[in-house]
């Protein structure tokens, strides 16, 4: 059995008196260490699928297993621990906290861990920022960074707690081509060296092609690309 197993997962949203199906009967079995890309048009249900796997929204039907456990039988605190310690999220926007510096933004998920690491977190945050090319912006506030730089801080933050799974929703959307390629190299390096599983939503078919497994979403239906 894979690290993430989706069985007939659907999600419907109520829109007025009607219901809109964002995800329809999605099933998948993703092994640990896989690099999965998901392509699809806007509104095809890609973000909702990642949110379902991330424990941020309840499915209307179906099961999502992580390492063999159904995540939607967990309590709110257990889901928070899952998001904090097992998953690294990259959102469509950078989603940084404006009053924290780049380094402090990276240290924030560490503060939410149930067991606080004794030391070395400051050094890890600086190392990750250097890895995404922001070694000179460690103490800069988001307002002092460009959109692309903010995006790279958010990428670094996702790796801060050493996650088993990265859920990336168009993580390179604001980046120029060169930086986009650098970030993709970084992802593949983390995937190969540390065995981190990746599920990456993207519009960029070139990037998607670099993934080992390619999936496509169309009108809420998940299928192999």
């Amino acid at each position: 059995m894979g690290q993430i197993v989706l069985t007939n997962v659907s999600k419907e949203y109520a829109v007025g008196s009607e219901s809109l199906a964002a995800v329809r009967g999605a099933s998948a079995d993703i092994a640990k260490g896989e690099f999965v890309s998901i392509v699809g048009h806007s509104g095809s249900g890609k973000t909702t699928l990642l949110s379902l796997i991330g424990g941020m929204v309840n499915p209307t039907q179906g099961n999502i297993l992580f390492n063999g456990e159904n995540i939607y039988t967990w309590t709110s605190d257990q889901l928070s621990e899952y998001r904090c310690e097992k998953i690294g999220f990259m959102f469509q926007s950078a989603s940084l906290l404006p009053i924290l510096t780049a380094k402090e933004n990276l240290l924030l998920p560490v503060a939410f861990r149930s067991v606080q690491p004794s030391n070395g977190m400051d050094a890890r945050a600086e190392e990750l920022l250097r890895a995404v090319g922001l070694g000179d912006k460690i103490n800069a506030y988001p307002a002092q960074l460009s959109g692309g730089q903010q995006r790279r801080v958010a990428i670094a933050r996702a790796f801060m707690n050493g996650p088993e799974l990265i859920l990336a929703d168009e993580p390179t959307g604001d980046l120029d081509e060169e930086t986009e390629a650098e970030m993709m190299d970084f992802f593949l390096r983390m995937n190969e060296q540390q065995g981190t599983t990746f599920m990456m939503v993207t519009h960029n078919t070139d990037l998607a092609a670099r993934a080992k497994t390619r999936l496509r979403m169309h009108q809420g239906v998940l299928a192999k690309a």
Binding site: M56, D77, F89, S95, L96, L97, I99, L100, L108, F112
Partner: protein, 395 residues
């Protein structure tokens, strides 16, 4: 935890004007609490201490002279009233009475009779006294002689002269001030004491209204185990010309006035508390709306509801502590400086002890913190329940 606390502090610094308004509002509420609690405790405590220090279980006064007696004993006012000495004998005969002693109150008038400013002169009976003596022992280790007087610790001429062996003319007779009393914390601190041996000469001078055989009041001690209130009731039932006040009833008139003032203070504080509560609620509701996305981000990267709660509670607590500490300092300053403008406080000389001040500060601190935390609790509860995806997508 340290990281979250430093995040809270950064949040507080985010909008300094808004933080200052909150701190100021809590500070005002707490200072009003400190001031009113200090005021009420000071007056209440002074009355209680004064009645305890008098050393009598009961005071018997002429009918209708209760108020005047309280004014003399508690408020340092100058009054005189008289009743027949035979009343003392009748009181002494009542079951349960252990000892009685009389005092006669005279008022000096500088231009007419005396070389001192207006003051109370208390003539007491040295043979039966248990009121004045205990405060004299340390200062004067002998009985007072005729023509000698002792000044209360705060009597006007004692304060002005600060020395003894001064001759003063009282009601046509010369008196030598041979000592000063220890502080009693009662209105007697402002009086001058002579013995009743001098009364005949004073009455003969014609400069006083008291007549031979008259006294102002009788202090009564009851036997152990006897309830002073029972003896007081017996006095009032059997002696129509006298009123009796048990120790616990001394100051009733002032306390009644104080209760009205306390009501005004209470109303003011309740209104201030309600205003502060809604101000905190409104500001934290605004904060909740402003920071919804941030909370969504934090929840999606692993913050539990308890983390969000603690994060924002820490912010409230820091604001509450700042406001409360400032309020305690300002309220204490007001209770020292502004309270002097109140006659009732000026006339009651006892100050608050360090313990009383600390307890008032603690109670006010708790009050300020409670209002702050309760006001913010609703918006914080709402914040912690935000669904991460809903918030992030809404942006």
């Amino acid at each position: 935890m340290t990281r979250l606390l430093s995040f809270s502090v950064k949040n507080i610094k985010r909008k300094p004007t808004r933080t200052a308004i909150l701190v100021f509002a809590i500070g005002l509420l707490v200072s009003a609490l400190v001031f009113s609690l200090s005021f009420v405790q000071r007056v209440n405590g002074s009355i209680r201490k004064a009645s305890e220090r008098l050393g009598a279980d009961l005071i018997v006064v002429p009918t209708g002279a209760r108020g005047a007696t309280e004014e003399i004993l508690l408020e340092n006012k100058t009054k005189s009233f008289y009743m027949d000495r035979s009343i003392m004998d009748r009181v002494a005969a009542i079951n349960g009475v252990a000892a009685v002693t009389e005092q006669v109150y005279l008022v000096t008038l500088a231009t007419l009779c005396c070389s001192v400013p207006e003051a109370m002169v208390v003539a007491y009976n040295q043979d039966t006294d248990f009121i004045v003596g205990p405060w004299l022992i340390e200062k004067l280790k002998r009985k007072l002689k005729k023509g000698e007087a002792v000044a209360g610790s705060e009597s006007s001429f004692n304060i002005r002269l600060g020395l003894v062996d001064v001759d003063s003319k009282l009601f046509g007779s010369m008196f030598k001030i041979v000592g000063t009393m220890d502080k009693t914390g009662t209105g007697l601190d402002n009086a001058v004491f002579i013995t009743t041996d001098n009364l005949n000469d004073i009455i003969k001078s014609g400069k006083v209204t008291v007549k031979p055989g008259q006294i102002s009041l009788v202090f009564v001690k009851v036997n152990p185990g006897v309830n002073p209130a029972t003896v007081a009731a017996e006095v009032e039932n059997t002696i129509i010309d006298a009123d009796a006040m048990a120790r616990k009833d001394i100051g009733k008139n002032i306390i009644a006035t104080l209760k009205d003032m306390s009501r005004i203070f209470t109303m003011t504080i309740i209104l201030a508390a309600i205003m502060s509560f809604f101000l905190v609620w409104a500001i934290f509701t605004a904060i909740a709306n402003e920071r919804a996305k941030e909370v969504g981000i934090m929840r999606s990267i692993g913050a539990k509801e308890s983390h969000i709660m603690n994060l924002y509670l820490a912010e409230v607590v820091v604001i509450g502590v700042l406001g409360s500490v400032l309020g305690i300092l300002f309220g204490s300053f007001l209770s020292v400086v502004l309270a002097k403008g109140f006659t009732i406080v000026k006339q009651l000389s006892t100050d608050l002890s360090m313990t009383e001040r600390s307890l008032i500060a603690l109670a006010s601190f708790v009050g300020g913190m409670l209002i702050c935390v309760l006001g913010a609790l609703g918006p914080i509860q709402r914040l912690k329940k935000l669904e991460p995806l809903t918030v992030i997508k809404a942006e």
